[in-house]
Amino acid sequence: MMTEQKKSIVEIKNIYKCYHRESLVVPVLHDITFDIAEGEFLALMGPSGSGKTTLLNLIAGIDKADEGKIHVGDVDITTLTETELAAWRANSVGFIFQFYNLIPVLKAIENVELPLHLTTLPRSKRHEHAAMALSMVGLDHRMDHYPGEMSGGEQQRVAIARAIVTDPTILVADEPTGDLDRVSAEEILSMMERLNHDMGKTIIMVTHDPRAAQRASVLRHLDKGYLNHDAAQNPL
């Protein structure tokens, strides 16, 4: 039986990254090369200090590689300037973080609307899109609540709504369940699964949690900055 070869949405070629600590040079990533297919739900795993978050930051365009190329869609993001990268991130990447990273002085609806202020959408459309995104994560009744008035799980759902409101090319999630209890974590993972299955969103998730990783369609392991090239298809 022939299996359909999916088109790559992210192509990572020979990436090297070091951090400079005063006179010390700390290598973080060594010759990382792999592709991420469109619609893939990738879990990046590995021990602390293995370079998972650094790799995620490079793919999301919030950090720059020392060597190598990263293509996302048709864009070689390693050649973009800071300003171009900012505009590219606004259009192409949705972010979900461990600590939700919502703006505390903005209500849930305003937090979700925030990335839309960088688009040309009129005010009424921005509000409409944000309300729809909140409704998709089941928080239409919490629109006017501030982050401080919501549970961790609810805040992470607001963060997911903010991540998907611009309809980005990829979603990146850094330990999205790391600060949540078991029940909330399961809710968030189910939501991400639905985004992947039902909406075809490409998701790249960094996690320590094997249970979270089980939800992904592909697992990749990093260790001491080296990629284990045998990507495992998740049995689930």
């Binding site: 978050t53 650094t54 930051n57 999301a60 919030i62 950090d63 300003t83 900012a86 505009a87 991130r89 606004a90 259009n91 972010f95 973080f97 461990q98 600590f99 990273n101 703006i103 505390p104 002085v105 903005l106 305003e110 609307e113 925030l114 990335p115 202020h117 960088l118 600060d179």
Partner: protein, 385 residues
């Protein structure tokens, strides 16, 4: 709009800190405004001086008199419209605490030369007709509860004895820059009494006040007056009223400079305090700025947020400080009317308050902004958690 919303909400997010910072700025701006008003009040006499009036005094020092006989000769100098004269009397009312400026003057010419002292016609006539009559400013009369017809006795500190007067008129200022705490009486009465006690000091005046026909000829007229008395027994020094008044301020220059320095130190201290608060605030919000940068917001947006927050906090404090300056200055002026007869908050002081507020906001925001812009997103995100 969203940025405005964020910066306004950020500015008042930590209510206690915002309140204390705003209170600090309000007090600093109030102190700055009062100190600037004190400085302005030193110069009130200079500001109120007429450009068409000259003052002639003894060239050696103001404490040496000039003969009354100079009057006619001065009057004959080309460009002179009117000549008046007077002496500093330096009397006190009841005791030393009750000090106010008091002079003896030639009343008709003096009132003609100083139209800014407004007297009711009936009172003016009564004053001119009574040799022992006196005129007091409205504030002075109000301070001591004097009414028209009240007998007033001043104790001479330069010219000994008790000097009796009858209050015949109370003047008001033509505008709010006029000193309403002065007291003046007839030079003739003074001269007659001096003849009795110190005959050799009679027929002498402390200064001449001269009205010129046109302000632009005042320097030439001054020169010609002094030329007329060159090589006489008492040479003269003639200058514009403004220069004459400035000469008095020059005596207190060290005090004025000290007040000026203190006013700037106040602003510098609050600048440091607000800068520290902004640095703390920005540090706390490093994660917020990092996430905004992650979402695609740029350096300009972050700059607007930090500068905007600093401006909101500083201008709120400054507005409160400015509003408070008026009643506090009024109370201050009433308490110290003897020393600062004209104590008004000028438009210039308000402009300086506003400029100081902008300066505080600018210096408070500049370093935190630079830090927030330069920090790598990845480092900023690491601060969260």
């Amino acid at each position: 709009m969203m940025l405005l919303k964020i910066l306004f909400r950020n500015a008042f997010h930590n209510k206690l800190r915002s309140f204390l910072t705003i209170l600090g700025i309000a007090v600093a701006i109030l102190a700055f405004g009062l100190l600037r008003t004190v400085i302005s009040s030193f110069y009130a006499g200079v500001e109120a001086a007429s450009t068409s009036r000259l003052v002639t005094r003894n060239a050696i020092s103001i404490i040496f008199p000039l003969p009354i006989s100079y009057t006619e000769k001065i009057r004959q100098v080309e460009g002179v419209r009117m000549v008046s004269y007077g002496n500093w009397f330096g009397g006190i009312y009841i005791n030393e605490k009750n000090f106010f400026p008091n002079f003896c003057v030639e009343p008709r010419t003096y009132l003609a030369l100083y139209p800014e002292f407004v007297l009711e016609e009936k009172q003016k006539k009564a004053f001119l007709a009574d040799r022992k009559g006196a005129v007091a400013g409205q504030k002075l009369a109000a301070k001591y509860g004097w009414k028209i017809g009240d007998p007033i006795t001043l104790k001479g500190t330069i010219y000994p004895g008790n000097w009796d007067f009858v209050l015949r008129a109370i003047y008001t200022g033509r505008d709010n820059t006029v000193d309403e705490t002065q007291y003046f009486f007839h030079w003739t009465y003074f001269n007659e009494e001096i003849k009795k006690i110190w005959p050799r000091y009679a027929e002498q005046v402390g200064f001449y006040m001269i009205g010129v026909t046109r302000p632009d000829i005042a320097p030439d007229v001054a020169l010609n007056i002094d030329k007329a008395f060159k090589s006489s027994l008492a040479e003269t020094l003639t200058e514009t009223e403004k220069a004459f008044n400035l000469g008095f301020i020059a005596m207190a220059e060290a005090i004025v400079t000290a007040i000026q320095m203190v006013s700037f130190v106040v602003i510098f201290i609050i600048m440091a305090v607000v800068a520290n608060t902004m640095a703390m605030t920005t540090r706390e919000r490093t994660g917020d700025y990092a996430i905004m940068k992650t979402l695609g917001f740029g350096a300009t947006d972050i700059t607007i947020l930090i500068f905007g927050e600093a401006l909101v906090v500083t201008l709120t404090g400054a507005a409160i400080g400015i509003v408070l300056t008026f009643p506090v200055a009024k109370a201050f002026g009433q308490q110290l009317s003897t020393y600062f007869p004209v104590f008004l908050v000028s438009a210039q002081t308000i402009y300086m308050d506003i400029a100081a507020a902008f300066l505080i906001a600018f210096f408070a925001a500049i370093i935190p902004t630079r830090h927030a812009i330069r920090i790598r997103i990845a480092d900023g995100l690491r601060r969260i958690g």
